[in-house]
Subunit: 229 residues, 2 copies
């Protein structure tokens, strides 16, 4: 089983915007780990809280980037070159991660209040930073998604080593089976694998965007099958 | 030819939020008409300025609605029930209208500055109002789109009555032919017809949304062919 856990593609920070992004992510991750007691002794409940929180935050950057590029296209009277679609796909994909894990467990009132506050802060900060430098923001998301891949890899190890017996055998929720087109007998392990693959893709896309000019054509848009406005 | 210009579906305002929406649109239209000298003696240049300006504004509401519903879904940990997709389609559709007309003519510096200011005001006001009452906002857009249908109908009459000879014979831009899948020899008249059909659809969709509860299922989402998160 472990052979399916491929090593993570890490982007070596070479430019200033990459070091900044990596540094910001490292500080945030360290703080969040300390606050929530992340470590070797995780159980299903701790994993669930951690994942739900991270996924409520993860849906913000794609939507902010898409909105700001849409508005810029409208007011600058220029094309977008296909970035908006990919950013919206990322945003919806993260929201599907959230809804998938929510199908397992409804969170507490305290958790809900925390999510509310976190979105208020993160949405405003990210919007502000994206207006100042999209490049820095995409590098930041690129490294954030690398951490997501690490987290889900840790989760897979915990499933395989027997620490999360419930998830190993638990059937994947209906919404996940439909969304990723999983087998009817798929388990939560398959869901975590699918989610981790999404995060790796977000990381690659955002690192790529961070090294492009704002008006370069999005290399992830399917040129032949769609108009790239 | 005129037989193809079907009468406009007008939504009779019955509820308070509908009267408010209609009233706001009427004031805005009257003011804008006076400012830009809209009337019987239009020519290609005047039409172009009017259409370009309206389309830069028209792309805002769909994106704002989609973003706010996306963020609400993330922080409330609840499904969206399929509205986001339809709102994003509206936003992109309006941006395609803009890019289509831009293919004919690049606007002046003065016009660009005006668009910049208008978006700053309209985006902020619309976001604020949508946070207070989505219902009022959708009714407002419903009536705004009715005006768009009237405007494009007027434009079609001007084309057919010979006042816009250039547009009657002018070939549709490539981007429009691809987007609406028009015939290779389509003219600007065909483009205006296609755009008007879009506006009528936006009007119907927004009037419908204005009369729904925020958590009702979007009746315009294709249930069998997509997941409605
Ligand atoms: Fe995610
Ligand atoms: Fe992600
Ligand atoms: Fe339009
Ligand atoms: Fe419209």
């Amino acid at each position: 089983m472990h052979s399916r856990l491929r090593p993570l593609q890490h982007k070596e920070p070479k430019k200033f915007f990459q070091s900044t992004g990596l540094y910001a992510v490292s500080i945030m991750r360290w703080t969040f780990d300390k606050m929530t007691g992340y470590g070797a002794d995780m159980n299903e409940a701790k994993w669930m809280t951690r994942i739900l929180f991270l996924e409520t935050v993860a849906g913000v950057p794609g939507m902010v980037g898409a909105m700001l590029r849409h508005l810029r296209s409208l007011r600058s009277l220029k094309r977008d070159h296909g970035w908006i679609h990919t950013l919206l796909e990322e945003a919806e994909n993260e929201r599907m991660h959230l809804l998938t894990f929510l199908a397992l467990k409804q969170p507490t009132f305290f958790f809900r209040a925390f999510v509310l506050g976190a979105q208020g802060v993160f949405f405003n900060l990210y919007t502000l930073f994206y207006m100042m430098s999209p490049r820095h923001c995409h590098a930041f998301v690129g490294y954030l998604e690398e951490e997501a891949v690490k987290t889900y890899t840790h989760c897979l190890h915990d499933i395989d080593s027997g620490k999360l017996e419930v998830w190993r055998n638990k059937k994947a929720p209906e919404i996940a089976i439909n969304y990723w087109n999983l087998d009817a007998d798929a388990t939560m392990r398959d869901v975590v694998l699918a989610v981790r693959a999404d995060e790796a893709s977000h990381s690659h896309v955002n690192h790529t965007f961070s090294e492009m000019q704002a008006m370069d054509k999005n290399p992830f848009a399917a040129e032949d099958s769609q108009i790239i406005p």
